[in-house]
């Protein structure tokens, strides 16, 4: 099994991938996609995650306000810690490739996209 495949199967990567899918597909947040695409260093990756989560959070709050009783998907704190650890261990480029790969994947049946 390749390192990339291992990362792709990691729940934290899956979670961020799903969030990126929502960001790009629903929120039109292309800036985050471009940033994930070009980020290379660890410090840049942390900054990218920060901006990405801030945008995602703003969109999630808007969605929850407009659809009372519904909750928007967001990666949790554990996922964040794990993704940072993975980036330190495997390199930013590999982790970003795995996250973007998730964003290319069809949502699973019955899964709510937002």
């Amino acid at each position: 099994m390749s390192k990339l495949h291992e990362l792709f199967s990691n729940p934290a990567v899956e979670s961020f991938g799903k969030a990126l899918q929502i960001a790009v597909g629903i929120n039109d947040d292309y800036a985050s996609l471009v940033e994930f695409d070009y980020v290379e260093k660890e410090e840049e990756f942390v900054a990218t995650l920060k901006k990405f989560l801030r945008r995602l959070d703003a969109n999630a709050r808007r969605y929850e306000r407009e659809h009372p009783g519904k909750y928007a998907f967001k990666p949790n704190e554990k996922d964040l810690d794990e993704i940072i650890r993975l980036a330190q261990e495997n390199g930013v480029r590999l982790v970003c490739a795995a996250i973007i790969s998730h964003a290319l994947v069809r949502s699973e049946k019955g899964e709510k996209v937002q």
């Binding site: 099994m1 390749s2 390192k3 990339l4 495949h5 792709f8 199967s9 790009v24 597909g25 292309y30 996609l33 695409d37 480029r93 590999l94 970003c96 490739a97 795995a98 973007i100 790969s101 964003a103 290319l104 994947v105 069809r106 949502s107 699973e108």
Partner: protein, 351 residues
């Protein structure tokens, strides 16, 4: 049952060698099913093994037009009114008809090696459609003035054998013969081990409309189709690479555009699992358009995907992903099935 072994010693001109191997196999078995013929690649030579009584004369169907590439393999031949020599097709027919038994006997000897050079006694011109690198790669020193170099010649027996192989085993994608496609590409799979009749079956069943955005997209498209088909016949046919020749169309004769060998390891690994096979099918049907005029994101994705399939590394994957996601955003491309993409990622080379 009689068993005969023939040897095609390699010359390092890949396409010329493989055409000779197929050519000899066709010369032995023709289109009758009396002789079972196998081709094996033994690194230094191709071994042709036949079971059954050898024919004493050539199968005339080998010179029929239907199903062959006779019409294209002498594309670079320029007929002139004052030319005394016969057309190369007729010439090849004369050689193999008149000296059929001698030709087979020659290839039974392990020391028969083709004579290749600038001037070969009773030699014939090696056309670039039969191996660009062989025909145009060997040139003499050039100074001051423009000079295209002289032709290379090979002995008539090796030449005629290669001509038969080129006529019956080379693949010239049909949809790329259009005038608005700038290049010509010729493809042939290298037989690691192939039962000739199964090889023919694979070639006949293969859809020869390929993605003509570039020569590389055509090569990859052919490889994808081939790997899918061969999977069903893996007991009888195994190819390890595809040898290709590219020529650039000009106002006159086509000019050499390069050639090489593409290993099938990566695609074969993918085809071993169901998810991988579906991924190949998906790429074949949706991501490599056969219309060479396609533009925009579909063109970008096809080119990026081709680069990735040629060299499956992280850099090329990231470029492909980057284009693909943009195609998804504009609703021109569908999302991937998770299992299929997962299988592709499993084989990405990480430096």
């Amino acid at each position: 049952m009689e068993t005969h072994r023939f040897i095609i010693n390699k010359t390092s001109f890949d396409m010329f060698d493989v055409f000779r191997a197929y050519g000899l196999a066709y010369l032995i078995s023709g289109f009758e099913k009396n002789v079972v013929t196998n081709i094996f690649d033994n690194d230094y030579a191709f071994i042709i093994e036949s079971h059954g009584k050898l024919p004493t004369k050539l199968d005339p169907k080998l010179f029929e037009e239907t199903g062959s590439s006779w019409s294209v393999i002498f594309r670079t031949f320029k007929a002139r009114k004052d030319l005394k020599a016969p057309h190369p097709r007729k010439d090849a027919e004369n050689v193999v008809t008149q000296e059929y038994n001698h030709l087979l006997d020659l290839h039974k000897k392990s020391d028969f090696i083709p004579q290749i050079g600038k001037k070969v006694k009773d030699g014939r011109t090696l056309y670039q459609t039969m191996d660009v690198s062989a025909a145009k790669g060997y040139r003499e020193e050039k100074r001051d003035v423009y000079h295209e170099g002289s032709q290379i010649e090979v002995d008539k027996y090796s030449w005629a054998t290669a001509v038969i192989g080129a006529a019956w085993s080379s693949v010239w994608p049909q949809n790329l013969m259009r005038k608005d496609v700038a290049f010509l590409i010729c493809l042939v799979p290298n037989p690691k081990r192939a039962l000739l009749i199964s090889h023919r079956d694979v070639q006949n069943r293969l859809d020869k409309r390929l993605c003509g955005i570039s020569a590389n997209t055509a090569l990859i498209h052919y490889a994808l189709k081939l790997v899918q088909l061969v999977r069903e016949k893996s007991d009888e046919v195994e190819y390890d690479s595809i040898i290709f020749n590219v020529m650039q169309k000009t106002g006159q004769q086509p000019k050499p555009g390069g050639g090489g060998k593409y290993g099938l390891d990566f695609l074969e690994k993918l085809a071993r699992t169901n998810a991988g096979l579906y991924a190949l099918e998906n790429i074949d049907r949706h991501l490599l358009p056969t219309n060479p005029r396609v533009k925009g994101i579909q063109q970008d994705v096809a080119l990026a995907l081709t680069d990735f399939l040629l060299r499956p590394n992280l850099e090329n994957l990231r470029t492909f992903e980057s284009f693909y996601i943009r195609g998804q955003i504009t609703k021109k491309l569908y999302p991937w099935e998770k299992g299929q993409l997962e299988e592709i990622l499993n084989h990405v080379e990480i430096a």
